[in-house]
Subunit: 243 residues, 4 copies
């Protein structure tokens, strides 16, 4: 089996193809311009980790640009020519090992950066329908299925401080896993966000829903409304300009 066979597939759902498709899509969301951001997927069949490389234009990536890592030995099964592994790799691996993730998305979302400036230790938003896309961490004891947050809940996402190098974030990330055992995301101040899920589909949905909620929170802040304010309390906060 040649090493390239690890990344060549005609199946658009193969991790090597899906990472490239999603990076192209995320580029157009302003989530990974200027080579920022990245995606990693654990192959559901082999458990190998597929990881986007460092420093490439994310909308132009090809399957042959991907690193592939053995999930047991954490050794590279495939290293593309002339490319460096992503500095996020240890963070992706931590999500696989400690959170049982099936995929991890990292973006430089401006909504995440702005929320990290507006909020202290936690991004908080409450009573918005889109919150229901995020898991509560609870599991239905009968069906074994994850229970999502309810409309009346508050979504809280921890914010950690950025460091000079991405791999230095590992300690803060591991601490966050302890403190927020059910979170599916961590915001990195003045940097961006990491979002994970049991599958790449779930991780993508969580990331989209959280970005929607962060965008809404920034707009609410601009109107003077605390994003976690109680239903019916909004009008108190709106800067009255006419009447």
């Amino acid at each position: 089996m040649s090493l390239d066979s690890l990344v060549y597939s005609t199946d658009p759902r193969h991790p090597a193809n899906l990472i490239c498709t999603l990076c192209r899509q995320f580029f157009h969301n302003n989530w990974c311009t200027g080579t920022g951001g990245g995606i990693s997927i654990k192959h559901p069949e082999t458990d190998n980790y597929f990881i986007a490389p460092s420093g490439v234009q994310k909308e132009l990536m090809d399957p042959e640009d991907l690193f592939v890592m053995d999930s047991r030995t954490q050794e590279y099964l495939r290293v593309p020519n002339n490319l460096k592994p992503s500095a996020c790799t240890p963070l992706f691996v931590a999500c696989y090992q400690h959170r049982n993730a099936g995929a991890v998305i990292h973006t430089h979302s401006q909504n995440a950066v702005i929320c990290s400036l507006l909020f202290d230790d936690e991004f908080r938003i409450a009573n918005i329908e889109q919150i229901k896309a995020i898991p509560s961490g609870k599991v239905d004891s009968q069906t074994g299925k994850a229970i999502p947050l309810s409309f009346y809940d508050t979504l809280a996402i921890p914010i950690i401080e950025n460091m000079a190098h991405e791999d230095q974030l590992i300690d803060s990330l591991l601490e966050t896993f302890e403190k927020y055992p059910h979170t599916c995301a961590v915001i990195v101040r003045r940097h961006g966000i990491f979002v994970w899920g049991p599958t790449i589909d779930k991780a993508k949905i969580f990331n989209e829903a959280i970005d929607y909620l962060m965008e809404l929170a920034v707009k609410m802040h601009q109107l003077g409304i605390p994003p976690d304010c109680a239903i019916g309390e909004e009008k108190k906060f709106i800067t009255k300009r006419f009447e």
Copy 2:
């Protein structure tokens, strides 16, 4: 006739194809990211209701993901494998039965959510050309055609409170039908909007025009101008910063 024959058609205007095309388009409008939102169309020939499922990525939907319901018995003629019916289904059916709708669009539009925070019981905007895309509820007695709002009219769209589960919105929706017999839309606070019309083309046009008007209303609010202020009164409200 196999059940799949209900959703397979080479006609791009077939409800099963149109729902997928429009969901993809609406995804790129940020109207149904993170699996939010949905569309239902009543087939003009068979009167069957075609309904997008719950919890799927709306930009990736295929015709085979759609539920099909008999409009008379309200029983499913087709249930896709491994998918759940949308919790909006009773609301879509209410629009078909009580409003004679031919299609219903549900989005998580941020403009709708923000307007639901800025306005109390009604979203109101007046004296904007785009209002003329919305029907007044009056009918021309000679031609039998719907008469649109005029430029000098005020568009008022009712806002109802959100509930834990979408199907719990049914009572409020029915009350709204009583109170606003001519409205083609209902905003759900902190959630999104439902828009319907006699055909999917009309529903899409109404939804686009209303979203344009809600977007404009938010911008007017930010400038200090009440969205329903009289023509010529705008300047009174603008925060004068220079002069």
Copy 3:
């Protein structure tokens, strides 16, 4: 020559094809959603006026949806089935006849609507590079070519009041032609903008440049900077929030 032969051409630059291509492009700019806006082109070879119809989804238009009018008799050479002529038709014709236009673009641009709320009789912006895309109305006496505005000039676009029906705007438009003989655009308050040029390429360029400038003017207003303020005076107006 069948009537359809007027609109069927394999040349992408034929007015019937170009109107459809540009309407699709303008739809994605939020300039003609909800059936708003329209485009008319005078065929450079036959002088016939090609005009988008009323009330159709502008991104879905086909060449066969277009009206064609004889420029001398102003009678329709082609009327598509089941479609109504645009209420803008008399305005388009006025631009052809009194301004020697080769094409006219009408959009419901939100930047135009907001600028019509912020400004009184004229939209004004000065000392921005993009102004140089707009003609000054002066002609080089040696080359006979139109001279564009310079960076140090002020662009002034007249704003007229909206009316119940678009064809009622004709008197204001004709007055504007008298008062602003060199303008290539008129903003209609709470409605949108009309932009024309000697060719469709020029009209498109003028429309893009003006929309860019209106967008910038709204942003400058939000920062407290008058859009026509002198170079170097900006800092006086910026709301100082930190120091």
Copy 4:
């Protein structure tokens, strides 16, 4: 060898193809609408300069619209019919000769124009992850590779005053090269930005990262936060509206 052979290639990475592809992409970023902006690439094999022409719709450009200049004699090897050379040409050449550039990008980015209104002589932003995409000007003495800015650094981009004609900017540009020997970009007040790099890939990445940072700086300003404020100081500046 015909002159057209200079611009016809089946290689999508050939400068003549790449300039057209990127201009189309930049048009959709609102960076070169209304014929604004431009790109020049030095062919890595021949050292010839490929330059987009003046006054054309940038999203519609073909390879045959490009000027080609001999880098040694600065004479045109190819002049397209009916097109004028870009007034930016002397500026592009200055970047090639004095900065050893491999490509130069010029846009009318609204983020650049707004930042030129908010800042005096320098655009400054600090402590944002995306800064790491920009070179510091230092070189690793062992590997010979460019060292990027660190997260804790401040990015400073000089702002020069605009002139009536683009070629008049040459003196200010040369002065800037002296004063900021390591900058990869210059903002032109009320006009746009020039960004260069050793290759077109690097120039594109720098331009994207800088535009992201300017966009973020405008948002920070709107929230009252100085874009170069120290980590942890943000909260002091946020206009407290609720509590």
